[in-house]
């Protein structure tokens, strides 16, 4: 585990560099670090930002200095607190939070699935085979980012991997389910994007009026469920 400054108001805790070999194991470790650091209640720490192999620890340096820390020792002090928090957490570790399984309805109607034919062509499959494979797979939410609520999903079948568009689209509709290289994701908001869109969900992935504001979080398991155009239009929550 390596801890390095991310500017003067954050640190990056590097859990594992071998992400590609063991994404699921790495994610578990990242979420473990998040839980242990939440429990550690380190003075001055504002929030934690997990990503694939790292946890960003954001803190207020003035609050740290106000804990009688010399300006020259802020990084050492907070690094030590992080290490203590992780060691302590290890001892009391026992039960693990159970991963949620979230079902996401997707309508693969041609009007929504702008790049379904392109993905099918690339995979040398029929469009129907792409859809069947896509929805028969279990995915794992690796992290949330890019735009609020955007889930980066692991688990895309190798066959469906399709390169991003060389020129991103100026606008992709909210709810678009898409493939970018070996990753898969869902656009929560209308935004520009270069991924291949193969369907659309009526679910709202990001709602700033609720807390937590995002439907998904890192560590969730996800499964797509095909719905008809009519079910999409009349979807109620």
């Amino acid at each position: 585990m390596k801890i390095t400054p991310l500017g003067d108001s954050a640190l990056t805790v590097r859990v594992d560099d071998r992400f590609k070999d063991a994404p699921e194991k790495t994610l578990k470790e990242v979420l473990n670090v998040v839980r242990r650091l939440e429990d550690a209640h380190i003075p001055g720490v504002i929030e934690l930002a997990p990503a694939y192999t790292t946890v960003g620890v954001f803190f207020d340096p003035i609050r740290v200095i106000n804990c009688a820390v010399e300006p020259g020792s802020v990084v050492e002090w907070i690094t030590q607190k992080i290490c203590e928090g992780l060691a302590h957490g290890k001892r009391k570790q026992g039960g693990r939070a159970v991963a949620r399984v979230v079902e996401v309805p997707v309508c693969y109607d041609p009007e929504f699935a702008l790049d379904l034919d392109h993905v099918a062509q690339h995979a040398q499959m029929s469009a129907k085979e792409v859809v069947d494979l896509h929805r028969a797979t279990d995915y794992l939410v690796n992290c949330i980012g890019f735009t609020p609520g955007f889930p980066y999903l692991a688990g895309l079948p190798e066959k469906l991997a399709t390169p991003r568009h060389a020129t991103p689209r100026k606008e992709i509709a909210a709810g678009s389910v898409a493939i970018g290289g070996r990753q898969s994701g869902i656009y929560p908001l209308r935004s520009p994007g270069g991924w291949n869109v193969i369907g659309r969900t009526p679910l709202r992935l990001f709602d700033p009026q609720t807390n937590p504001p995002a439907l998904l979080r890192a560590g969730d398991r996800l499964r797509f469920q095909a719905i008809s155009r009519q079910e999409f239009e009349t979807w109620t929550f």
Partner: protein, 328 residues
Amino acid sequence: MSLSLTRAGFLTSVQDLGRNGFRQFGVSLGGALDVFALRVANLLAGNDESDAGLEITLGGLRMRFEDKRVIAWCGGEFDVRVGSTPLPAGHSCLLNADDELTINQPKVGCRAWLTISGGIDVPFVLGSRSTDLRANFGGLDGRALRDGDGLPLGKQSEFSRSLIDLLREQRVASWSSPAEWSSSAKTETVLRIIRGVDWSRFNDVTIQRLTRDAFVVSSDSDRMGVRFDGPELRRNDDVDLVSEAVAPGTIQVPPNGRPILLLGDCQTIGGYPKIAHVITVDLPLAAQLRAGDRVRFSEVSIADAYRFLLERERQLERFRIGLSLHDS
């Protein structure tokens, strides 16, 4: 009570100290790009430091108030007037009902922060009143302000009321915040940096270039980041990094070699190498950069970064105490 914007300007939005606690859901920090300026201006208006004010980009505003308010502003070299009376930066100023306040284009710099006693009373969304211009929530209907908008103002503090009494005759207070706080704009800016985790991915020539050459600000810059047209920073290797947390101040280098200095509206995670970080105390300078400006980067130690930050925080504390003496 409210204020009405006859002209909303080039890009004006409601901002406070930003939205903490939701990075894990992909929500940007946001907030005033110069948090220090907003805090000072809030103190001068008799507000809490965390009240919401207006972030003004390149001016072009006209506004009217329904009732008496104390206002203050800090930032670039803007021409701010009520009628024909100039209102200098860093001063508490009285505005009467129906006065028209104008804010023209800055001679130097890019942004200013205007506070009004009582603060701008838009609803809190995820713990902040800041406008998220990318995800369209917070502030006024989640968007930049438009001509004709009305903004609700909050209840004024006792201190604001006593300032109104005090400024009845003179309109502009005789006291002010230190001049160097309100002239953060420069024609050639030096930003102090500390090393990023990927510093060693760059060869000596590139590092020399980063710390010696002047970088030209691109017109493609916004609240997410300052982009530079050149010179280019070449990487030793072209490995794809796994995305991880980034922060305001991070300087990342995409494959085209043109560095991007991230600001308050930056995304929460990114995959480009992080060559360096501008220290927090210099982010106000970065918020004043506009197209064509020249920037140099100068390396300091992280310990110095904290010393500078602590020194400025102590100055602000002294200023806060000095200001409260006017409350009698």
